[in-house]
């Protein structure tokens, strides 16, 4: 919406320039977003909040100016000739809930032509190019005082009456925009004795519009129920100047004034003579007076506002105030007179009909505060009781994130929406669908972070970035018995070479063990009784290079190489390693509490075993077998070299195993260590392995 400051000045004698005016209005909550044009022709581009429909016109903004600058507001008083021989024109309102008031005037013998310049120029403020003098008069009044009105060709209204009623099933109405609309029984229409002629509060009908042949007109100025107008407008995907205002609550008290003002303009620009008038009031729309306590002003705002400012601001805005004082029962005359010198304890505030948004004491407080000026309030800090409480997962989350960063993964944020294919491929849970998705390609909420991650990798590959490590911590969603379940996951992916490249550094491609090591580094933050990597993992992984991660007996995630088929489908030319952890489950495990153990004062003994093992004997089995010996002095087991090929029989592999023995109580004897070594070898043999020659 646009406002011409020149027009404003016709209602209030402003003595500030337009720049200052714009600033002051903005600071009172009537936001001027920008200027259009310059000099006297400058226009304000307004951004009026939805609650302030009363300020969506020049007179309303002028009223704000009157309050801000404490200036007189010129009233709008249409001058109409006396109605000599009133014709009767019945108005029937079927449901007072839907239409509270309908005011109409009939004018006969108008000449339909172009509107004069002074009207056309004002319409140009909103870039309206004008239709005819009657339609333009209604638009002029709308811009001037904000109440939507409509003009019918009186001769095309059949049966000599207006009926405001819900549409009947099967009824149709061609609206002014030329669209034939199928009406719904929930739509409120203006009808004549026979047919609907307008969609109430939204748009007039095509068949009864003003044409160059129109001689007699009916001007409508009504008040319609906001919710009804809104529903009807939505149902027909319409949004008009009229519906915008009625939806937000028009001025019930202004229907007669608006009707008279349009009539005055029509008589001025199209001639004609008054023929009929009817103001049908189905019910009154108003708010009860509000009690405003001065103590409440102070309690909410934190600062005393001088009494004269409070009354001046509210009165200028159109509120009527009656002062109330705490009754002093049986007080002498003198006391009463003294009390009158004090500011009142409270006011009874009458709400003007155009302020549908003011219903409660707090609304009145806001009126005072905004016009008084928010920046005239002090900046203070509240005193508080109570302490700061951390969310239970705050620390594990921060540790996990810090580790991922330390491991070289860049943090990413990926979109929430995924495709149906991806939802099926990357999770077994039922994905949550959107009613109104932004795109048909991604109509679901993500049930896995993997597809989003793959899209981020693809984005990078397409931009020649091939060494990429990314992670994301975010929520995924699934439908479970009508409820949406939200889980927090972490996904991390590595592809390309490991670490940075440099003249001193050999380059190596990321492999399974890089990913596994990173996963272990994260899981080591938690209190771990057992950590296993088991097979199989989900189908989107390479079946031979993936694992399910089981911590303390519970599955907390999966990791591995993206299945080569899926990689090929996405045109990835390199291996992609990806892991996903269920943070809700992981964070249920307490963080690892560091434990101190006295350092041994006795030397350790190291033994290397060069073993030959069958391919089907996993390292896990070997380790478990050796640990199963329960040698308390066995400090660590570490695989050092793994080799297949020349010199190693087909189907076998050679493994160099490094064992460390140590006691915290004594120096180990050679014969003890030899005994343990024999036990280890026996365990290896138990697995079908042997010591290499």
């Amino acid at each position: 919406m646009r406002i011409s400051p020149t027009w404003l000045r016709e209602f209030v004698a402003l003595d500030v320039d337009n720049v200052r005016l714009a600033e002051d209005l903005t600071h009172a909550g009537i936001a001027v977003e920008g200027f259009i044009g310059e000099g006297d022709a400058v226009l304000f581009e307004m951004e009026i909040t939805t609650n302030r429909v009363d300020a969506m016109n020049h007179y309303g903004v002028a009223r704000e100016c009157s309050a801000i600058y404490n200036l007189e507001l010129q009233p709008i008083i249409p001058k109409l000739p006396k109605l000599i021989q009133p014709e009767s024109f019945p108005i029937e309102i079927l449901d007072p809930a839907l239409c509270a008031r309908y005011t109409a005037r009939a004018i006969r013998d108008v000449r339909i032509e172009k509107a004069p310049r002074y009207i056309a120029e004002r319409l140009l403020i909103e870039a309206h190019h004008g239709i005819n003098n009657v339609a333009d008069s209604t638009n002029y009044a709308l811009m001037e005082m904000g109440h939507p009105t409509h003009a019918f060709d009186l001769d095309l209204l059949e049966g000599g009456k207006i009926v405001v009623r819900p549409a009947v099933h099967g009824e149709k109405l061609k609206t002014l925009d030329g669209i034939e609309r199928q009406l719904h029984p929930g739509d409120l229409v203006i009808a004549d004795a026979v047919k609907p002629v307008a969609l109430a509060g939204i748009m007039g009908g095509w068949d009864t519009m003003i044409t160059p042949n129109t001689r007699n007109i009916l001007i409508e100025s009504a008040w319609f129920d906001p919710a009804t107008v809104r529903r009807t407008a939505r149902r027909h995907s319409m949004h008009t100047d009229a519906s915008h205002r009625f939806e937000r609550g028009a001025d019930w008290g202004a229907t007669t004034l608006a009707c008279d003002r349009v009539t005055e303009l029509v008589l001025e620009t199209a001639g004609g003579k008054l023929a009929g008038y009817n103001d049908a009031v189905a019910r009154k729309v108003s708010h009860e007076p509000i009690q405003l306590e001065r103590s409440e002003l102070r309690r909410i705002l934190g600062q005393e506002i001088p009494e004269p400012d409070v009354t001046r601001i509210l009165r200028r805005l159109g509120f009527e105030l009656t002062e109330t004082r705490a009754s002093s029962n049986g007080a002498p005359e003198e006391g009463v007179r003294l009390a009158l010198l004090q500011p009142p304890d409270a006011y009874t505030v009458e709400i003007p009909s155009w302020r549908m948004d003011v219903e409660r004491e707090i609304d009145v407080i806001e009126e005072v505060a905004r016009v008084y000026g928010f920046n005239n309030f002090a900046n203070t800090l509240p005193s508080f009781s109570g302490g700061v409480v951390e969310l239970p997962h705050a620390l594990p989350e921060s540790k996990t994130r810090t580790r991922l960063l330390a491991l070289g993964y860049d943090e990413a944020v990926s979109p929430t929406f995924i495709s149906t294919d991806d939802a099926q491929r990357f999770s077994s849970s039922e994905a949550v669908a959107l009613e109104n998705p932004l795109s048909e390609e991604a109509p679901l909420l993500r049930n896995s972070l993997v597809p989003g991650m793959l899209n981020l990798l693809a984005w990078n590959f397409n931009r020649e970035a091939t060494d990429v490590r990314l992670f994301e911590m975010g929520n995924v969603f699934s439908m479970s018995s009508e409820r949406v379940e939200q889980r927090k996951l972490a996904c991390f992916a590595a592809t390309g070479s490991v670490g940075e490249k440099g003249v001193q550094l050999p380059s190596r491609s990321t492999d399974f063990f890089d990913l596994k090591g990173d996963a272990e580094a994260i899981l080591n933050t938690f209190e771990k009784q057992s950590l296993q990597f088991t097979t199989p993992a989900s189908g989107y992984f390479h079946p031979g290079r993936s694992a399910t991660v089981v911590l303390n007996g519970e599955t907390v995630g999966e990791l591995g190489q993206l299945h080569p088929d899926l990689a090929a489908e996405r045109k990835f030319k390199q291996e992609v390693w990806i892991a996903q952890l269920d943070l809700d489950r992981l964070f249920a495990v307490p963080l690892r509490e560091p434990r101190y153990q006295r350092l041994s004062r006795y030397p350790s003994v190291e033994r290397d075993f060069s073993l030959l093992l069958d391919n089907h004997v996993s390292y896990e089995r070997l380790r478990t077998a050796i640990e199963g010996l329960r040698i308390p002095e066995l400090e660590s087991i570490e695989p050092q070299e793994l080799f297949r090929g020349a010199g190693v029989p087909e189907g076998k592999y050679s493994l160099l195993l490094h064992l460390v023995f140590q006691s915290s109580e004594r120096t180990l004897r050679d014969d003890e260590v030899s005994g343990w070594s024999r036990q280890v070898i026996a365990a290896v043999q138990g697995l079908g392995g042997s010591l290499r020659g």
Partner: protein
């Protein structure tokens, strides 16, 4: 090469002469060495347990001495031993300093080559900004609270004083979950359009006083372009207690703005509208780029569009209607709420020209925030 002489005469003068010979031999031999390897040879010759000079002194002087002279000879041998040890140590110090100088030269590296970088991950600018904002409020006594991204109409709208069919809902462009039409309106699921529902959830859970800061992801049905995204992040705050005033709202947010953008930043407030606060206020900060002058090196400041001010957040006193939904007594308690867009603040802070960059995972973009 010094050879330990066999002594026949154990008189003091003879011992003197023998010691003198030994010392001069030691001096010339230790002066002759040039490397650590030489020194080891020298050390072994003089100090080795088997056949070292000192061992031989013991055998040939001390053991050979007649009993009456043993005491005197013992003393002499000890003196000599001490001198030898000192001289050998000194010789090592000499050779090792000269030798290492040349070795160090050979070991010289080109220190201008880049260091071996260990790849460190980079915080996402949004998460980093969000954590910074949260940190500011945590330091002011606010506890972090979170809530679900899929919400009911009740929490996202109704309890925040957006009545059904109210035009204020239009501004929210809500993404709805499929298949909810059969349910009563308040139970219908949607993607939360703001983090404000967490205010309600927090107040339902605890009586005042309450001070929370709520970071989180929100969604609106906005078509993605350089300045719009259907996904974005907010940080919300809420403080409710007895005697919390509009002045407190202003003071708190002014302090937070200074912590976030620098202590020289000024703030100003002007009226706005949110259904769940009243009065409602938008906060602007003085432009941190041009210092609020609107001009930068004689040019129009692009950051604040020459206005000198930048809009940062929305706020207001909690609307009494909201208290009605959570059973707080509006006559006893008052409070304020505020909310800001993380994307907007990150965009302002880093001068980012396309909001989509946040969601693409482009490492060329992310690495700029190392």
């Amino acid at each position: 090469m010094y050879i330990v002489p066999k002594l026949e005469d154990f008189s003091a003068s003879a011992l003197d002469a023998a010691a003198r010979d030994l010392k001069s031999a030691l001096q010339s031999e230790s002066a002759a060495i040039a490397s650590e390897a030489d020194w080891k040879v020298l050390r072994d010759r003089w100090m080795a347990r088997k056949n070292g000079v000192l061992t031989l002194l013991n055998d040939q002087w001390l053991k050979a001495a007649p009993t009456p002279a043993k005491r005197e000879v013992g003393q002499r041998v000890n003196e000599v031993k001490k001198i030898v040890e000192e001289q050998i140590d000194a010789a090592l110090a000499r050779v090792s300093s000269t030798v290492s100088a040349s070795r160090l030269e050979q070991e010289r590296v080109d220190i201008t080559l880049p260091g071996n970088r260990r790849k460190l991950g980079i915080e996402h600018p949004l998460i980093r900004t969000m954590n910074e904002i949260v940190g500011v409020f945590k330091a002011m006594g606010y506890s972090v609270a979170e809530g679900p991204e899929v919400e009911t109409d009740y929490y996202n709208f109704e309890s925040l004083n957006f009545p059904p069919n109210h035009p204020a809902r239009d501004t929210q462009d809500t993404l709805m979950i499929k298949g909810q039409q059969g349910k009563p309106l308040r139970e219908r699921l949607l993607l939360r359009t703001h983090t404000s529902p967490v205010q309600i959830r927090a107040m339902e859970k605890q009586p005042p006083p309450i001070r929370i800061v709520v970071p989180g992801r929100v969604h609106r049905a906005d078509t993605a372009d350089a300045t719009h995204s259907p996904i974005f992040h907010q940080v919300e705050g809420l403080a409710v207690d007895t005697n919390i005033t509009f002045c407190d709202l202003k003071g708190t947010l002014d302090q937070a703005a200074k912590a976030m953008f620098g202590s020289s930043v000024r703030t100003r407030f002007y009226p706005s509208f949110f259904p769940f606060t009243e009065p409602s206020a938008d906060m602007q900060i003085s432009c941190f780029k041009c210092g609020g002058s609107g001009r930068l090196k004689g040019e129009r400041c692009g950051m604040c569009k020459a206005s000198g001010w930048i809009e940062i957040l929305g706020s207001g006193m909690v609307d009494p209607n909201v208290y009605g939904f959570v059973d707080y007594d509006p006559k006893k308690y008052s409070g304020f709420a505020f909310g800001m867009g993380v994307e907007r603040i990150a965009i302002l802070k880093y001068g980012i020209d396309d909001i989509q960059l946040f969601y693409q995972g482009d490492v060329r973009f992310l690495r700029q925030f190392a």
